[in-house]
Symmetry: C2
Subunit: 385 residues, 2 copies
């Protein structure tokens, strides 16, 4: 096989961003050959910008059936990710979907069931998994160097968005259009990283503000408490209403604590096991010796392009995926559990009740009074995630 | 009036610590003249250590009635703080009580009602209010420099205690003896500082581990979510089971965020109001300009001695109290609300239902199966708070 022939479904904000590094030849194993978009304006944009050799389609279905592509990147609004991914795989195409994998777990569990029976390469744009800091945090946990996890604390409030951002797209920040707010749009990465690094919680209790800082109907302020199977606890805090906000992941374990903040990892490592010291020390006041360690964590990572490169290599050479599509369910399920907990003002166990969540989401859609006009405006996403 | 003649009730861990700086003459307006303790061992210790001029009593009542003292510092186990404080004021003495003001709000509201009718000077050992960093944090909020508070996050898990600490005293870490765990013993300062700096929340939802890291019946691991009257939210996390733990207070407001950690205050100040920018900015993605400011916060503070000095000055010259005794209710009420929320697995409004809390606490005491022998061991508290 020569280069993987790629088609992008949706060349709005994120899709156009993917098209740029692909047409610049920055993905050795792949080439952009086609795009599909239902908006004539975006097709015009593609024709003007991407060059004449790129085929343009006004429907994903036509592009999937064209024979022109081996693989599709799906960068449409969220609700369409699962059905388009299934359809593409059905027609023999490899698939890479933008995050989130879908809007509700029921939909994504169906997608995963389909993907598991398919031999196509199914990837997910969890570009933050490519960052060396996140990989190192995961390494510190998985290697056992941090010891058993006692507590996690992820404050990820550096997602400030102005009202004009929300006003820029008809689908944005509505139950019908996007299926959620900060949890669905900004946080899929963080929810994924949290579970990728620390493991998946077993139950959730969340407190959510809907349209707290913006004139929107969905979530823009979240505090969630979780419990893990081993008895550990965690807190996840996010909002689009703070500036400058915080991006800080702290994990306390039986061998100290590690903090990722400002792109820097610091590990306060106890010289011995905390639980052992706790049991054996006889002096009353006193605590284990601690070594403050600056942990090297490399420099950066390839982001979106890295995920696309990895996906193309997986298609060509069977390279292992850094972000398998089927893993999209995990962060989504945690986010769904948070919303459900807030709606029911109670605990939500994981795995969640897919049907109940879907029903509650449908109720939100049905009772929505939001009427927005699509401005068709495409925002510059350079610097976003 | 010459020097305030002080008697200390209880010369165990904290009382003996107060006796040291007093006998060293470090409090200009006060002098230690007497101590009272029900333990013969501690009386022996006082006679040997404090000098012959210090009168020793085997009951607080006798010392209060002796005519030898003008003022009493009460450093007994927690339950006795309110009745002893009331009795001392009744007999015309000024009073300074160790934290917490009491164990349950019902008891402390009675104390406060009595104190408000008394003309005696009633102080509380909130020594952490003397620290310049805490005063500066309060200043940043109260001055309006931080803008209206959106979110607070206090991680105060640097309270590691080993099992041997809990085993050292018969009253420790029992419902009957101490009335709580980390919230009652270690965190009164932090609960007070949190409300002193950020204001008092209006409702609480807390998640608590009882004997999670230690063989004790009370709380040693707490995560609490709170809401403020203005719609702001907050999280308070504490435990005695982590090492080294974290001591970090973050407050996000309409003019940025401020963080106190490692004795250092950093203020990421937005050049303009976040809420104004949010409404008026028209560019979609984009956020307010931020200036990272290192805020000078002085060096330290006088701690316990500072509170005792301030209290003596208040008695002698009417100096304003930094920590009026009647303010002890605030942090206690938040802590009580956390426990009640955990016990009932539900929301607790503030002001809390004093009677309900008292009833629930009594149930814990009645159903306790803990039998501990008092080792009579006095721990070295140098370096504790």
């Amino acid at each position: 096989m020569s280069k993987v022939r790629i088609g992008i479904v949706g060349v709005g904000n994120m899709g156009s961003s993917h098209s740029r590094y692909l047409t610049a030849g920055e993905v050795p194993d792949g080439e952009l050959v086609a795009v599909a978009d239902t908006s004539p304006d975006r097709i015009d944009w593609a024709k003007e910008t991407l060059g004449e050799e790129i085929q343009c389609f006004d429907s994903a279905e036509d592009m999937f059936n064209s024979g022109a592509i081996d693989a599709a990147i799906i960068a449409t609004p969220h609700y369409d990710h699962p059905p388009l991914a299934i359809r593409a795989m059905e027609l023999g195409l490899h698939v890479l979907i933008e995050k989130p994998a879908g809007v509700y777990t029921k939909q994504v569990r169906e997608l995963n069931a389909f993907a598991e029976k398919s031999d196509r390469v199914f990837g997910l744009m969890f570009n933050q998994r490519t960052l060396s800091t996140h990989q190192k945090m995961r390494d510190l946990v998985q290697s056992g160097d941090l010891g058993e996890i006692q507590r996690t604390n992820y404050i990820i409030t550096s997602w400030f968005r102005s009202q004009s951002y929300y006003d820029s797209g008809g689908w944005r920040a509505t139950w019908a259009g996007e299926g959620g707010g900060v949890l669905m749009n900004q946080c899929p990465h963080n929810l994924d990283l949290w579970q990728w690094i620390c493991g998946k919680p077993s139950r959730v209790r969340a407190f959510i503000g809907f349209g707290k800082y913006h004139d929107i109907e969905v979530d823009d302020s979240v505090t969630a408490y979780v419990e893990y199977e081993n008895g550990g606890t965690g807190v996840f805090i996010t909002t689009t209403g703070e500036a400058p906000g915080t991006n800080r992941l702290e994990i306390a374990g039986d061998r100290g604590k590690v903090v990722l903040e400002g792109g820097k990892i610091t590990f306060w490592r106890t010289r011995e096991s905390v639980s052992k010291f706790n049991k054996e020390y006889q002096g009353g006041f006193g605590s284990p010796e601690v070594w403050k360690c600056d942990v090297p964590s490399g420099s950066g990572g390839e982001g979106h392009k890295g995920i696309t490169k990895n996906w193309c290599s997986a298609i060509k050479d069977g390279t292992e995926l850094l972000a398998p599509g089927t893993e999209g369910i995990h962060g989504l399920e945690i986010g769904n559990a948070m919303l459900l907990s807030s709606w029911t003002d109670g605990w939500v166990d994981i795995p969640i009740d897919d049907e109940l969540y879907h029903k509650k989401l449908q109720e939100k859609i049905d009772s929505s009074t939001v009427v927005k006009e699509d401005t068709g405006k495409v925002l510059n996403v350079v610097g976003t995630h």
